[in-house]
Symmetry: C2
DNA sequence: TAGTGGTCTAGACCACTCA
DNA sequence: GAGTGGTCTAGACCACTAT
């Protein structure tokens, strides 16, 4: 007896799509028909189809039926790297050094991103992250002290800003921007590399509900690569 | 009367996690209890919890119960950019130019990635993608002609390799690597920029089932940024 | 307006895994 | 061994939308 599960049905449907039995953009049978065909409850077919829809392989519309997606949306996922883990899984010792920690007026682009009123201040930190004793990444961060006043009284020598924020503000959302820049003197200094080296940059802004928490720019040592999967 | 749905329950549970009512790592009530509490079927609670598990906010184990995730996995998703769409949504005209299209022996790293036997050949293409009349990205690609022999008889002047592959090999998987490099002479030439500029690079290998299809390196014009969300 | 997916229920059995 | 999540079923009603 064949096992009938939503996973096996998903697989079967996927096969019929990949084989071309159901062409791109064409309408596939309704849930009821498929349930009869596979000898299972409609709910089970529904789950399988929902999974395919989540993956962007089919589009479903009430009354319109289910169609194979014209241009399969290719989504890649990746985990936001946590520096300490990144370094330690590579077999090195992680450490960090807080270079600067001042309360001052952020430049306009930062101010608007954190929704800080004109003339307001924010905490500015610069941190160098080390793998063993060589610089691995350089972090420049602004924290909205109105949203996270506790940051002012935390001894940031012991725990990195990075980790503190993850611990204290665990469930937040945000956006991420990747880019490449040439190392200017400040970055080159911090990472102990030459000016002009191509640097991989992650720019990240984080907020909790409507409160803007922090914006950070992370400059990785040259040669860094970020892996992901389709 | 309150609407009871798996979405509303998901939201309610999320709130209890975010508010700290359920601490990080702590065990939360079982499905049956929550079903009683919210006055719905266990199935409904199950769906809500599965959603939270998919998002990486809770971890579920049989007999072990459901626990709030210690280190909320921060996953970012992004859509793999399709060059034509990228350019056209920016309001520019897309075009491309196939600079090179030869069958030759790939260098060892490419050979091993595509699983091509020693001494075997593969199709090598170089394409420049334009936004209006200025270069936008430079693409270097190797295609495994054993897996996709049709590529040899396709007029690649009309349709870009990029699009052809998406159309012909729609349902494949792959991996993606992001990095930054300094433009060498070849890249600088193609993108009409200066040698040494910091270039954002996407490296992508694609396969269908067990057949390795293609590996591609895409060099974006300096200043390019890739946006994503948490 | 009729057809299709979206979702809830109540009950059942199974599979895993912790103690 | 027992408790918890994983999943299937059969039936029902609802919501959207293409025609």
């Amino acid at each position: 007896m064949t096992v009938i599960s939503h996973q096996s049905i998903r697989q079967a449907l996927l096969g019929r799509i990949q084989s071309g039995e159901w062409a791109l953009g064409s309408r596939i049978p309704g849930e009821t028909d498929l349930a009869t065909e596979y000898g299972c409850a409609r709910t089970t077919v529904n789950r399988a189809l929902q999974a395919l829809a989540d993956e962007g392989l089919v589009v479903r519309k009430r009354k319109g039926g289910t169609r194979v997606c014209q241009t399969p949306v290719r989504q890649a996922k990746f985990e936001i790297p946590i520096l300490r883990e990144q370094v330690e899984t590579a077999g090195s010792n992680y450490s960090h050094r807080l270079v600067c920690n001042k309360l001052k007026r952020p430049p306009p682009p930062v101010r608007s991103r954190l929704h800080i009123p004109a003339g307001g201040k924010a905490a500015h930190m610069q941190t160098i992250h080390y793998a063993d004793s060589s610089p691995f990444a350089y972090e420049e961060r602004w924290v909205n002290t109105q949203a996270v006043p506790e940051i002012l009284t935390t001894p940031l020598g012991e725990i990195s800003v990075n980790e503190w924020l993850v611990k204290m503000v665990p469930f937040s959302s945000g956006d991420v921007v990747f880019s490449a820049v040439s190392a200017d003197e400040k970055i080159a200094d911090a990472l102990e590399i030459e000016v002009g080296a191509a640097i991989f940059v992650i720019d990240r802004t984080t907020w909790l509900d409507d409160a803007f928490i922090t914006t950070m720019t992370l400059y990785y040592k040259e040669g860094y690569k970020l892996y992901s999967q389709l």
